[in-house]
Symmetry: C2
Subunit: 150 residues, 2 copies
């Protein structure tokens, strides 16, 4: 008969009823931050988006800038900046498409290819380090669920 009072006490425990720390968005942002920090620690002279562009180019070969962007989940404005910086470092080369003169074709230079090959093992270490708090089975679960909301 006094259950009501106890319930009230529990509810009042958190005035707002909204716990920022438990929201997906907040945890997602923090997990991403930690990953980027680990990445910067292991691969100091390249950012995750820059590496993603190089790795994808190694995978698919020459593509247009926008196409590459859609492959690595970057809009046109963002991918342009990334490619510009890779070009100024001599890791990618840019040419106009022969037939469709709107398209800017992007490809790896020899230096770019060597760089990808050198960094892939480090990238694998970064993945391992990011997932270190989890067991292999948990890591697989996380990846699967994350993919579904991505």
């Amino acid at each position: 008969m006094t259950g009501e009072r106890n319930l009230r006490l529990v509810e009042d425990d958190t005035p707002e009823g909204y716990r920022l720390q438990e929201q997906v968005g907040f945890v997602l942002r923090k997990a991403h931050q930690r990953h980027v920090a680990i990445f910067a620690d292991r691969i100091g002279d390249l950012t995750p988006p820059q590496f993603a562009a190089l790795a994808k180019l190694a995978d698919v070969g020459e593509t247009s800038q926008n196409q590459l962007g859609s492959l690595i989940a970057m809009d046109a404005a963002t991918v342009k900046g990334v490619i510009d910086r890779l070009k100024s470092r001599g890791l990618v080369a840019l040419t106009r498409h022969d037939v469709d003169k709107r398209r800017l074709m992007v490809s790896l230079t020899e230096d770019g290819r060597r760089t990808v090959e050198r960094l892939v093992p480090l990238a694998e270490d970064i993945t391992t380090e990011t997932l270190r708090p989890l067991s292999p089975k948990e890591a697989a679960t996380l990846l699967r669920l994350l993919s579904r909301i991505a």
Copy 2:
């Protein structure tokens, strides 16, 4: 006796042996992007970091700028920009700490408090929408695992 050849064929399926799309970092970035897009769709005039600052202030009351930053996982430089923009909108007020004159104390204005109260239900909708592809049990699992790597 021909098993070797088949194995080779499977391995050659992916030349690089490194699948960007399956790396935590990449999926984390994409999931975060989707969440931010959903947020922008529902709460157009405030960003997730800005809302996080307001929600945390509603929770803990007045704090110093740096302290608030550590509560919502932002470094000093980042939190400054966020607070500046909230101040210019009249959602937070800034005062110098009486004793320790280095500290910049941040608190919600009345407008800020009303804004948080108005937005919390929308923020809950955003969480729901972000997790929509998952069952409740899966969502709980994701949140738990994500917290551990965050």
